[in-house]
């Protein structure tokens, strides 16, 4: 095709932005279009939430253990070993827990959605759904995005609890503290301003993971290689979005609570 005009990169980028806006508009319109796919939504919540629980739990537990083991020598040097529960709980609940769990979910969920929908595109299942007069956006996209938006905060909450429990076990390697005292110290050190903004940002993390996964999958090219590209691209983009959302959330939280 010697007469084809090469499209500059910035035009492609703008086109992609336009496509994402269109995709987002279609998603919003289909939420309120009626005939919500409740059974598929519940199935996706199970797939996304329950099936990610083990990975999130193990990762959070290890993070709790590692953080205590890393923090202890420094705090002991300053004679502040008693501050370990507070330091862990504030850092874990505010920042480390949501971001690590967000990244884990981006890796597991966004790639899975991207690959699944990409594969459906390649095998013409999306086309088949569309030409049959059914609504693939409502059945596949709306349910997945809403399921990730609902389940990532739940996973983050459970991850926080498991991470803090891991911290408790690690603390008892060198020191002795009862579980009830540890729990009291953790609860006393946490305020609503630690907990609520962290949970709110995980809602946005969940939305970003679902949106990017669906967008990359539905817009993948035809051909088997594109399935891998869609999955990979979904992980990279969703992970990047998690850091961007986190940076914005930290700024907004600082303005609201600490200024």
């Amino acid at each position: 095709m010697e007469n084809d005009i090469a499209i500059p990169g910035w035009k492609k980028w703008l086109e992609d932005i336009g496509d994402q806006v269109t995709f987002f508009t279609r998603f919003i319109r289909n939420i309120f279009a009626g005939g919500f796919e409740w059974s598929e939504f519940v199935r996706q919540c199970y797939e996304i939430g329950y099936r990610s629980f083990t990975l999130v739990g193990i990762t959070s537990f290890i993070m709790g253990v590692v953080l205590i083991l890393q923090l202890r020598p420094t705090l002991v040097d300053f004679g502040a070993a008693s501050m370990l529960p507070k330091t862990l709980s504030v850092s874990f609940v505010r920042e480390i827990g949501p971001v690590i769990i967000g990244i884990i979910c981006a890796g597991k969920i966004a790639s899975s959605i991207g690959a699944e929908l990409g594969s459906m595109k390649v095998t013409e299942q999306l086309d088949a759904m569309e030409v049959s007069g059914a609504n693939p956006t409502q059945y596949l996209v709306v349910t997945r995005i809403l399921a990730t938006t609902a389940m990532v905060p739940v996973l983050a909450l459970m991850g926080d609890v498991i991470g803090l429990f891991g911290g408790y076990l690690a603390l008892n390697i060198n020191d002795h503290m009862s579980l009830s005292l540890y729990a009291k110290k953790v609860i006393a050190s946490l305020e609503y301003s630690d907990f609520i903004p962290a949970m709110v940002k995980t809602i946005f993390f969940g939305f970003a993971i679902g949106f990017v996964g669906c967008y990359k999958g539905v817009n993948s090219s035809k051909g088997t290689a594109s399935v891998g590209i869609a999955a990979n691209s979904a992980v990279v983009t969703a992970s990047l979005w998690i850091f961007v959302i986190d940076a914005i959330a930290v700024q907004v939280t600082s303005l609201l609570y600490y200024s």
């Binding site: 010697e2 005939g35 095998t123 013409e124 299942q125 569309e130 030409v131 049959s132 007069g133």
Partner: protein
């Protein structure tokens, strides 16, 4: 076109006029970049007629039926399906038109996360909004028996062979009782025996459901079995059309090339 033959064998057409034109294509053009895939397509399909489009790969056969169902928008030309100009339909009207058209994809395009039963129920519950389980079961059983796979309802698509997937794909399109069927290479990738079975099934289903069909293929046996009329496509235009038997004796070189292995 080098050859034209008016064919209109009287067929069963569900009580509607057999002379009614259900698909009318005039001057259809479609390009992708600098490649002109459809250059000037003209075709009329009467109710109850089976039209087979033959052509080499990459000639734009599938693009034509994708335009018919509104998956692609033509650059130029008039394309009317059941009296509606497809490019002028809004989203809702297009969706409504699509409920009257069945499209069988090359690989069957079964939803691989669903069982055969769920695949078949999907268009019934989402498109026709049927909620009554007894009616769903009756329709599923009817089409499964029709395609000879009555015991496959609870299987997953991954458990089915290529021929079975095509049959289930056909069942899923027929379950909504469409007026028009579009087949995109229904026998590609199948062994000769299964290809023949699928071709005969296409014909049986056409008789049973009284559909109007366009069948895209380069399988001459499929064309011979299913066609009321054959259209031959080359370089984005139809170069010949007529009954299979007539084209078989054509002197046109391209047409002869297609039919040279047909006994």
């Amino acid at each position: 076109m080098d050859e034209k033959e008016t064919i209109a064998p009287q067929k069963q057409t569900n009580g509607k006029s057999p002379d009614e034109i259900v698909i009318s294509i005039k001057g259809l053009k479609k390009s992708f970049g600098s490649k002109n895939v459809l250059r000037d397509i003209n075709l009329e399909v009467k109710r109850g007629e089976n039209v087979v489009v033959l052509g080499r790969s990459g000639q734009g056969k599938s693009v034509t039926i994708q335009c018919i169902v509104g998956m692609l928008t033509p650059d130029e030309g008039v394309l009317k399906v059941l009296g509606s100009e497809v490019s002028e339909l809004d989203e809702k009207e297009l969706k409504e038109l699509r409920t009257k058209i069945g499209f069988l994809f090359q690989g069957g395009a079964l939803y691989d996360s669903m069982t055969v039963r769920e695949n078949l129920e999907f268009p019934l519950t989402r498109v026709l909004k049927i909620k009554d389980q007894a009616e769903l079961d009756a329709r599923v059983e009817e089409v499964l028996e029709g395609v000879g796979l009555a015991d496959a309802a609870d299987k997953l698509p991954s458990d089915l062979s290529g021929g079975m997937r095509k049959r289930i794909g056909l069942a899923r399109t027929l379950i909504v009782k469409p007026e028009i069927m579009l087949y995109d290479e229904p026998t590609t990738g199948l062994d000769p025996i299964t290809s023949r079975e699928i071709s005969e099934l296409v014909l049986d289903m056409q008789k049973k459901y009284k559909t109007t069909s366009i069948i895209i293929t380069h399988d001459m046996e499929c064309a011979r079995i299913t066609a009321d009329r054959v259209v031959i496509m080359e370089d984005g235009v139809y170069i010949a059309e007529g009954p299979f038997e007539k084209l078989q004796h054509s002197q046109n070189k391209t047409v002869k090339d297609f039919f040279k292995d047909v006994s």
